[in-house]
């Protein structure tokens, strides 16, 4: 019968192989008490905890000698005086580290990242403690557990359980006296492997903290429980020729003889540079070491290392050098404190090259620095991976190189390995009695195990907004005759990029009038189409030929885009356009970086001759790669023109269809920027103003092309809308229009117009999938459309009504401008459309434009929007238009 506490349901128990019912009941009792204590402990404050910990530390100090004596008497290992020091370090030094640390509630604020860290105790720890440090490890772990509000069930090494249990008792009684929960520490008496296996798998154990040999650590990690496993080492030491030898030799002796070498971080093989080898051995001898000859080394190796396992003989662990010498039959001086054994290699043929937790030190004579480092690597890999290493040198490069090639959690520099690794004595490492050995040692950490390993650290992550921006060219000249401002920009040589039409209608001559007489002006006429690589290269050749310091782009979006890319390649010839066009999600986190080194410099002045793309202020440029049959979109604020001249005299002669197409492109820019997930008050003000101007002036400019005010305002509207979408981006309308336009060769503005009413309805509806966006508070697209309706004075009382009226207003505008209202009206057959649909959906989904859309489009929804656009008005009349 398994005993359980009253009131508890019987939980499934771990396998209890080899355990009697009485033993299981005993173990269950320990865990239950600890489990209750851990639960009660969760209510404690930082002040409560600190009031408990300090008396525990004082009790540890008061009992340091008592516990050390018990440990030596029971284990017959080590040096009583050194164990006193260990107990004191485990109490005082650990306390000094933890006393001001926060371990309850909020433990850290990270204001810059809006993060708050909060401590959560683990609950019940199952802790295995070693024979080599049986009381200091207990003191250390009890103090850490109390500080972190955890309960511990200890399982001491079976040959050290009495002294360990006494240490647990002292800590427990002190802690409970000062308010710790009853049952907070418990100790398994005379534990067995079966006990440990049972407890390691116990449901109510939260973490296994195993300090001990490889078997214990492996068992901990194999249990399926979270574990801190801290195991064996094999510390290599590089004694380099520039080292301070007097200090080095004394430090090594201090460390290797401390508690008779029982600390697993102590030195095992010292690799000594040839030049100082004899001198070092002489110093060892002078300070009480016995230098073994070849025969003695062989005898020693055979005796203290098990030839079958290659591991140290337990009988030798923690024994005095003189006793070991006597045991193996070596004749040494009575005051001998260390046996130094020269070896000629590392590995099974050189038994003393492994870990030896007793005062036997292997030494190796290295002919060169490279050999020394390689031998240290060999020692490191012969059972010491991840643990500890030591280097003595005055050469920082040597120290750094050693640190890079040796895999050890602690690389102790110019100080004793064992005491150095414990931390807080010879260096600023965190004080510990458990050395994490990283994955090399089969452990989960390389840290000196400390209070933070006894905590679940929770992070309160406040919603943050990355900084935003509003970036536009720093000089924008607008209204009629703004071109006169060209006089402000003196230049030695200017390349005017334009197309043939601009020359024919006299626009080039207008520009030429305002170029200074001292400026050499070269006119580069390019095709009136999306720029190709060949055209860009021609432009760059011209720029290089004339060593131009200024580029004027006079034309529509394609000409200005071409000039942007020419400038990029002229200033940074190494720029790889395809690489720079790599996709990205957030401009701030983009993988590719645009070049910031410039071998040439040229100012770019953009003079648009259409009122739509806004390329004169945008950071975008589209390039046609004919060889690969695709368009490459470049986006970077370094592409933005330096100066924009928005002079309506250059658009007075735009044909009606171009006026309508570009005007609707402008409206789409503004509407999409307005509801974009990147919209800001800065972009909103521009978007709203542009929308207002388009509704007021586009019909006039379309119907009366010579109306100067309407032309001027539409020209301004295009630029203002572009300022909005340069910073807030566009949306799904553009993704659809790009895909459809490319498939059927439909002009961009016209393609936008076909999608626009459907996209407004789509965005205004409750999304199937919301777009993740830290910048928006809730879903606002429908409300923003309603705001647009209000701005336009469209009436309506509810948001839905206002959205409906905006859609109607857009439709009326499109009708007034003579747009086809369905794809079918363009003469595209249903068959051709259906055939192209899957490809268009894929292309639209791959288009980056929708990534700032307020609603995340599903591919089926993109297909639905295309279908609506195909049917257009006919379907709307049937009431099927809106995707809801």
């Amino acid at each position: 019968m398994i005993a359980t506490d009253p009131g508890e349901r019987v939980e499934p128990k771990p396998k209890a192989e080899g355990l009697s019912e009485q033993r299981i009941a005993y173990l269950e009792g320990l865990v239950k008490r600890a489990h209750t204590a851990a639960a009660v402990f969760t209510q404690y404050t930082q002040e409560d905890v600190d009031e408990i910990v300090k008396p525990m530390v004082l009790a540890g100090l008061e009992n340091a000698q008592h516990l050390a004596r018990l440990a030596v008497e029971e284990t017959r290992l080590g040096v009583m005086e050194d164990k006193v020091i260990k107990n004191m370090v485990a109490s005082e030094f650990v306390y000094n580290y933890v006393k001001d640390k926060k371990t309850v509630g909020v433990i850290r604020h990270i204001p810059g990242r809006n993060l708050v860290e909060i401590a959560e105790p683990i609950g019940v720890l199952f802790s295995l403690t070693p024979i080599t440090n049986p009381t200091s490890t207990v003191l250390f772990k009890c103090i850490m557990a109390a500080k972190t509000r955890n309960a511990v069930v200890f399982s001491p090494h079976p040959k050290a359980w009495r002294c360990s249990a006494e240490a647990v008792r002292i800590m427990y009684e002190t802690a409970v006296k000062d308010g710790a929960p009853e049952g907070v520490f418990g100790c398994v008496e005379s534990s067995t492997l079966a006990d440990n296996a049972y407890l390691m798998k116990h449901d109510q154990v939260g973490l296994i903290d195993a300090t001990g040999g490889p078997g214990v650590v492996k068992a901990a990690y194999s249990s399926g429980k979270p574990a801190l496993g801290v195991g064996a080492g094999n510390t290599p030491v590089y004694l380099e020729k520039t080292a301070d030898l007097k200090t080095a030799v004394v430090d090594i002796i201090i460390s290797k003889t401390f508690d008779n070498g029982t600390i697993c971080a102590s030195e095992q093989t010292v690799v000594i540079d040839d030049e100082i080898y004899d001198q070092v051995l002489k110093k060892f001898e002078e300070l009480g070491a016995h230098i073994c000859d070849e025969r003695e080394t062989e005898i020693l190796g055979r005796a203290v290392i098990n030839p079958q396992t290659g591991c140290m003989q337990p009988l030798a662990v923690g024994q005095r050098a003189i006793d070991i010498a006597r045991f193996v039959g070596l004749s040494v001086q009575p005051a001998t404190k260390l046996l130094v054994a020269p070896i000629k290699g590392i590995g099974p043929d050189h038994p003393l090259s492994v870990e030896k937790l007793f005062p036997v030190l292997a030494v190796y004579r290295a002919k060169s620095r490279e050999e020394a480092l390689k031998v240290c690597v060999d020692v490191n890999h012969a059972g010491g991976l991840g643990h500890t290493a030591v280097v003595f040198s005055r050469d920082e490069q040597v120290i750094r190189r050693f640190g890079e090639v040796i895999n050890a959690g602690r690389i102790i520099v110019n100080s004793p390995g064992s005491i150095g690794a414990l931390g807080a004595v010879y260096n600023d490492l965190v004080p510990t009695f458990s050395f994490g050995c990283g994955t090399g040692g089969g452990n989960s950490t390389t840290d000196n195990v400390n209070i933070y390993h006894y905590l679940n650290i929770k992070r309160l992550a406040q919603r943050t907004q990355n900084h935003m921006w509003f970036r536009v060219p720093n000089q924008i000249y607008f209204n009629r005759n703004a071109v006169e401002n060209l006089r402000q920009f003196p230049s030695r040589c200017t390349i005017l990029v334009t197309n043939a039409g601009m020359e024919q209608i006299g626009h080039v001559d207008i520009v030429r009038r305002f170029i200074g007489t001292k400026t050499h002006l070269h006119v580069l006429v390019i095709p009136d189409a999306e720029p190709e690589v060949k055209v860009i290269n021609q432009g760059v050749e011209a720029l290089n030929l004339y060593k131009a310091d200024q580029i004027i782009a006079l034309g529509g979006g394609s000409v200005i885009d071409a000039a942007k890319i020419m400038k990029l390649k002229y200033e940074s010839p190494e720029a790889d356009l395809e690489y720079l066009a790599a996709p990205f999600l957030d401009l701030r986190k983009r993988v590719v970086e645009y070049p910031n080194q410039r071998s040439n410099r040229a100012q770019l002045i953009a003079i648009p001759t259409t009122s739509g793309t806004g390329s004169e202020v945008t950071p975008f440029a589209v390039l046609l790669d004919k060889d690969k049959g695709r368009k490459v979109t470049l986006a970077d604020y370094s592409l933005s023109p330096d100066v924009a001249i928005v002079d309506p005299q250059f658009v007075m002669s735009m044909p009606k269809s171009l006026t309508a197409d570009t005007g609707i492109d402008c409206l789409t820019h503004a509407l999409e920027a307005g509801v974009s997930s990147y919209a800001s008050p800065y972009t909103d003000s521009n978007a709203m103003q542009a929308i207002r101007l388009v509704f007021r002036y586009l019909p006039i400019a379309y119907e009366n092309p010579h109306d100067e005010e309407a032309r001027c305002m539409m020209h301004n509207a295009a630029c203002i809308a572009a300022m909005a979408f340069s910073n807030a981006s566009v949306g799904v309308n553009h993704a659809l229009a790009h895909a459809f336009g490319a498939m059927f060769g439909v002009p961009h503005g016209r393609a936008n117009a076909l999608m626009l009413p459907h996209v407004i309805a789509y965005n205004a509806a409750v999304p199937t999938k919301f777009m993740p966006s830290p910048y928006t508070q809730g879903y606002t697209a429908h409300k923003k459309y309603a705001t647009v309706a209000d701005l336009l004075g469209l009436g309506g009382t509810t948001v839905d009504e206002k959205v409906e009226r905006l859609i109607e207003a857009v439709k009326n505008l499109l009708d007034r401008l003579g747009f086809p209202r369905s794809i079918a009206e363009l003469g595209i057959s249903r068959h051709d459309f259906e055939k192209a649909l899957p490809q268009m959906v894929n292309t639209a989904f791959a288009d980056p434009s929708w990534r700032s859309n307020p609603r995340m489009p599903l591919m089926t929804e993109l297909a639905g929007l295309f279908q609506q656009a195909y049917e257009g008005r006919a379907v709307e009349k049937a009431g099927l238009a809106l995707v809801k």
Binding site: P6, G7, A38, A39, V40, T42, Q43
Partner: protein, 90 residues
Amino acid sequence: MPAAIPLKISEASVASNLQEVKAKLQGSDRQIAIDFSSVSRIDAHAVRELKEIALFAEEREVTVHIHGANVEVYKVLKLLALTSRFTFSG
């Protein structure tokens, strides 16, 4: 909400108050209500009493309702898998 009048638990004597509750379980009431609103923290003794109350209540098919337990106390009971043994309010 249970009809029974809640038995007020005092911060100063949680464990002994709970012993009184345990005694009540011997009676004929099918519902017992305990008012924890004055208790900021419970210790291992209180936990032990609550475990016994849970056990007796289950044996006698009595519903034990805890009113006003703060979240810290509730979390202790949760960690010890005891919340399913009681009903809670407040």
